[in-house]
């Protein structure tokens, strides 16, 4: 990472040095040339003056311009031409006219060649600075990680560089310090500012057992943390990789610009030759040389080639700062066509932390016994609902369960002391031939309160219900309202039963609900909705991966390290639906900027090149226009930052 930063800083410094030196020499050339041209003052006799200009221009072209010439002229051997090829040819030919005119009467462009190179170098300097600014947020991510860590080794606190921390090390983090790497709190309590990772402004409370993320800042207490992930495996490292990789991905709209960029330089070389020949036939040699040089130096593939990636860089940087990671550039273009946004319920609209709210038993079984059986069975499942029950029961000793099975989307089954138990939704019990008609009224009552009801049965006998509810996130309603006002069709999808789902949907203002969907069916439901337009799917990325993939835009969200960062086209590291509205907004604004940039880049070349061909533009003005074109595109992209997300 440091290597990369160094390359960029070195680049800016080198351009700056060349810029200063080039102008120190070029300004006297300008004074010499124009005092004669404009004021008619002859400072030197003409042949002496030509020699002086040639001597002065030499270092500008061949020393300060050396790397450009080397990179550009290589193109003539490898046939991989680039922007430098045009500048090299243009300036070298212009310089040579100064020598040729001693033997053959042609106009001398050698002074012009120095001016063109000096302007080129200036343009490059400004552009590299602006490019650096475009990536500033991403650079900040790179610098976010801690440099050192205080670890406990052999009972002693020692400070070591972060690279020497090993998994399992206990790290001590004092108030105000950066948490060096991902880990789990083993001792201490504190609140941690995670805004740099999630964009979430409120600090998060941490106590024993809480996961912490490297690069977040410990606020008020001392935390002892056991390192669980280091180096390239940390959450921050993953985010950086993801953001960087996104830079190289393509936005479809740039295809044409890329195609043009890839044939641009050879095409301009041919055009320049044609211009030269055309002017010789229909005009004169001097104009032919001037126009051909102007064509070479005015043409710049940079504006076209940079239009999209530079806007994408600024946009994704702005996103990263707010916990919105754009993984694939394509998503920002697709986003504008999205009509329907489908939300998974659990963990997306709701907090995803269900809690037991009611317990109802039938017959002579007492609640304690009922909970003991239920929790012993649920202990073996990883489902969030199971965890809620296990936490609620808080047993010291669990009963022994045999023949345990998870029935995905339905529930669980297992045997305790030779008795077979089922815990699950209505579908599970009905499939097992258990008649629920006597209990249906009770079930429906809880369901219409937005609770998920799990029925527990022993053999064919219903023992009772466990009701679990998952509260809605604070800003879900607001976010959904914003989206609906913008004209999006919002849909909630869940494995929960219809009544529970509708009760939750009502709370947040969603009218369309697709309930009782098995996990593997979610992507099919996305496909069905896609028949009437583009669909974005918002889910946790763990259970919803296929649906996220099937959707036109997949938005994965989660909090902290729980998140499946490899899923989805856009990843939200903060667990808030407002993030979805921001992501959509950011995508649209970024895409708008890309379109603007492409328009200017195309317009520039369409207008400028014919002007150069026609001989109207002097090579110096052509070069100024060229430099401005790429600076404009980069600066315009930087302006994206002014928009509110």
């Amino acid at each position: 990472m440091e290597e990369e930063n160094n390359i960029e800083n070195l680049e800016i410094r080198t351009w700056k040095k060349k810029l200063v030196l080039s102008w120190i020499i070029t300004i006297p050339i300008i004074i010499l040339m124009y005092s004669e041209m404009i004021f008619g003052i002859h400072l030197l006799t003409s042949s002496v003056m030509t020699l002086v200009v040639l001597v002065l221009a030499f270092p500008v072209i061949f020393i300060f311009g050396f790397s450009t010439l080397k990179s550009g002229l290589k193109g003539f051997t490898t046939l991989y031409f680039n922007m430098d090829s045009l500048i090299s040819l243009g300036t070298v030919v212009a310089y040579l006219t100064g020598i040729i005119q001693f033997f053959y009467p042609i106009q001398n462009y050698s002074g012009i060649s120095a001016m063109v190179m000096a302007i080129f170098v200036t343009g490059k300097y400004i552009e590299s600075k602006a490019r650096g600014r475009a990536g500033q947020e991403i650079k900040k991510l790179l610098e976010l990680g801690a440099k050192n860590a205080t670890v406990l080794r052999n009972g002693k606190e020692i400070e070591i560089p972060i690279s020497e921390v090993k998994i399992g090390d206990v790290i001590i983090v004092k108030p105000g310090e950066k948490i060096p790497t991902d880990g789990i709190v083993v001792k201490g309590e504190s609140s941690v500012d995670e805004s740099m990772i999630s964009g979430e402004s409120l600090p998060v409370d941490k106590l024993k057992g809480s996961p912490v993320i490297g690069a977040t800042i410990n606020q008020d207490g001392i935390l002892y943390i056991r390192a669980t992930k280091i180096g390239r495996d940390t959450f921050l490292a993953h985010i950086i990789d993801l953001v960087e990789e996104a830079q190289g991905t393509k936005v479809p709209i740039q295809k044409l610009a890329d195609k043009i960029t890839s044939i641009f330089v050879p095409a301009v070389l041919v055009l320049s030759v044609l211009t030269f020949v055309g002017w010789i036939i229909f005009g004169n040699l001097n104009s032919a040389i001037g126009s051909a040089i102007a064509v070479l130096v005015i043409s710049c593939p940079c504006a076209l080639g940079l239009a999209t990636p530079i806007a994408l860089t600024v946009g994704s940087g702005m996103g990263a700062k707010r916990g919105i990671l754009i993984r694939r550039g394509e998503a920002i273009q697709t986003m504008k066509d999205v009509k329907t946004i489908m939300f998974d319920k659990t963990g997306t609209i709701t907090k995803g932390k269900p809690e037991v709210t009611d317990i109802k038993t039938y017959g002579k079984i007492d609640k304690k016994e009922f909970l003991k059986i239920s929790a012993s069975l649920e202990k073996l499942s990883e489902h969030p609902l199971s965890k809620a029950i296990v936490n609620y029961a808080n047993l010291k000793v669990y009963q022994k369960v045999t023949s345990f099975k998870v029935l995905r989307g339905k529930g669980i089954e297992g045997i305790i002391s030779k008795k077979k138990y089922l815990i699950g939704n209505r579908r599970l019990l009905e499939e097992n031939g258990i008649n629920l008609s006597k209990f249906i009224q009770d079930i429906e009552k809880y369901e219409s309160e937005g609770k998920t009801v799990m029925t527990v049965s022993e053999g064919k006998k219903v023992l009772g219900f466990l009701c679990v509810a998952d509260s809605v996130k604070e800003d879900s309603k607001e976010a959904l309202q914003i989206l609906q006002e913008k004209g999006y069709n919002t849909v909630m999808i869940t494995g929960d039963n219809e009544r529970t789902a509708k009760a939750i949907a009502k709370k947040v203002g969603i009218t369309q609900v697709i309930a009782s969907v098995l996990p593997e069916e979610k992507s099919k439901k996305v496909m069905e909705l896609q028949e009437s337009g583009f669909v974005a799917f918002v889910g946790d990325g763990i259970n919803d991966a296929p649906a996220l993939k099937q959707a036109n835009v997949g938005i994965a969200m989660g909090s902290g390290t729980d998140i499946a960062i490899e899923a989805g086209d856009i990843v939200l590291t903060k667990s808030s639906l407002i993030g979805v509205t921001q992501a959509i907004n950011l995508s649209k604004k970024t895409f708008g900027k890309i379109k603007q940039n492409l328009f200017w880049a195309f317009a520039y070349n369409v207008v400028a090149i014919p002007l150069a061909v026609s001989g109207i533009l002097h090579p110096v003005f052509a070069e100024i226009a060229m430099a401005l074109s790429s600076i404009t595109v980069v600066t315009n992209a930087n302006l994206l930052r002014r928009t509110k997300i």
Partner: protein
Amino acid sequence: MKKKILIEGMTCASCAMNVERSLKKIEGIDEVGVSVLTNKAIVESENEISDDELKKAVSRAGYKTISIE
């Protein structure tokens, strides 16, 4: 397989296109993304492609490989 190549000498958008074009010529390569902004190329392929082969492709287009990871 996914590899990240840090490249020196890409000065403009057409340079990035050159590197991209050259890398795409490697047999078996699926996806190539080159960014002049990060000075990086990211290549993806089904089968392993040797670092040497990648380096060769970068230098064929006239640029220098600094590191591959």
